[in-house]
């Protein structure tokens, strides 16, 4: 059961019914257990790619393979895919339709045909995981934007998926809410869940992901380890994506020998601050 390859796309093409471009000859591979970030400007095809992962969109040509099994888009195949791949949409208001939080989270498990007791226990556990247990009986419209997003995630977790796909999860969240959501994603990842998300926030992606899928104008530009990003900054710039701020600084500091060349490549501003502190401490101890 445990394929190390979670998804494989082979020459996937997609055009929207209004003839606008979706994906062009896209081939890629996503590892099970990874934290993969799809990175590109708005309109590059991030959402199209993500929606293929849940069978929301069906390729015009090409094959999408999930866990070794090519998707055939039959009702049973979609059912099995969607019970294993949870999808978080950008706008929580299009996902939360029920009157109460509990009712909304139970939507997926009920559709899976589970019994009342099982549904109840899953709903409880899912709300616990996202830290919304005490809001179970609240009406959805009284929640803040960040809380709504968390309830949406609980709605997916209640289906006990193996993969979580998130479309721009950080959009519209302020700093504290972003930190909370990041912590939830970390917990889920530690529990073994594969997480795939799209974002246009280079700093966040660089800090959080272990694999980056670059996409531009519907073309998939391959999957690379995040740690190697610092060697492909020109590629980023060419795609209209800025260099992560921390890398800019790191390179400036390195160039002017303000930090040692042994300093590990930092993934976030906080990393860099830590490195600077350690380096100074090290120098002092010598």
């Amino acid at each position: 059961m445990n394929y190390s390859e979670l998804f494989r796309f082979t020459d996937v093409n997609y055009r929207y019914p209004d003839d606008s471009r979706g994906l062009i000859n896209c081939s890629l591979s996503i590892k099970r257990g990874s934290r993969t970030a799809v990175m590109g400007v708005n309109g590059a095809g991030k959402t199209t790619l993500l929606q293929m992962l849940n069978g929301i969109l069906r390729p015009d040509s090409g094959v999408v393979v999930f866990a070794g099994q090519p998707l055939d888009y039959s009702r049973t195949s979609l059912r099995s895919l969607r019970s294993k791949v949870g999808f978080l949409f950008q706008n929580p208001d299009s996902q939360l339709l029920s009157a109460s939080v509990r009712e909304d989270v139970s939507f997926g498990p009920i559709n899976l045909g589970l019994g009342a007791e099982e549904v109840n226990s899953r709903v409880g556990y899912a709300l616990q995981t996202v830290g919304m247990a005490e809001y179970a009986n609240r009406p959805v419209h009284a929640l803040s934007y960040g809380q709504k997003k968390r309830v949406c995630i609980a709605g997916l977790l209640a289906m006990q998926p193996e993969v979580l796909v998130l479309d721009e999860p950080m959009a519209g969240l302020d700093q504290p809410m972003q930190a909370e959501l990041e912590a939830i994603l970390d917990t889920l990842h530690q529990q073994g869940m594969s997480i795939i998300l799209a974002s246009h926030d280079g700093d966040f992606i660089y800090r959080w992901s272990d694999h980056i899928l670059l996409i531009a104008d519907g073309n998939c530009r391959g999957n690379q380890e995040t740690g190697r990003l610092s060697s492909s900054l020109d590629a980023l710039a060419a795609l209209g994506l800025g260099t992560p701020a921390v890398l800019k600084l790191y390179h400036a500091l390195l160039e002017h020998q303000l930090i040692a060349s042994t300093c590990p490549i930092p993934r976030s501003i906080d990393d860099l601050v830590t490195s600077i502190r350690q380096q100074s401490a090290g120098m002092r101890s010598i």
């Binding site: 339709l97 029920s98 009157a99 009406p139 419209h141």
Partner: protein, 207 residues
Amino acid sequence: MHIMEGFLPVKHAVAWSAASAPFVAYGIYSIKKRVAEHPEQRMLLGVATAFTFVLSALKIPSVTGSCSHPTGTGFGALLFGPAAMAPLGAIVLLFQAILLAHGGLTTLGANIFSMAIVGPFAAYGVFRLAQAIKLPFGLSIFLAAALGDLLTYVTTSVQLALAFPDPVGGFAASFAKFASIFALTQIPLAASEGFLTVLVFNALARY
């Protein structure tokens, strides 16, 4: 099912337009009064028009397994009152004619009469009647939406039968013909719409 552009002979097109005109005029008069008292209703009626259009483009599964489009007129009549539905429906039908080539300009009057006048007033009347004889709320909603839908199609059949009486059996035979094609197949679809409308009101009541 809308009567398409050019389908009705001139006399019929004119007659149905004349029949619809007073209802539309009264509808405009009544919403004018509403907007004068509550100016924000102007926007509300606009968004409601958009919603009616969108509803009619939805696919709903039918009890027989086929798919259909809800008319939404019963639902609209219950929310905004039947009088307002004539001008709103007129705009929706104009949108459908021009944006989807569904219905038409010369048949606008006839389509307004069946979809934006008979449907809403029937739905509203049935609802009030059902409530008056103390039927449960859900059943009243179901009957209103389902019968509103059904009577719309009966009206369409009458319109077609009047325009194209059967050369052998006259109006009655022609009506039987159209009714069996449009109205009879519509019965399960009307039931679906009624059922759906009940679900919507249930969901609304819980907010």
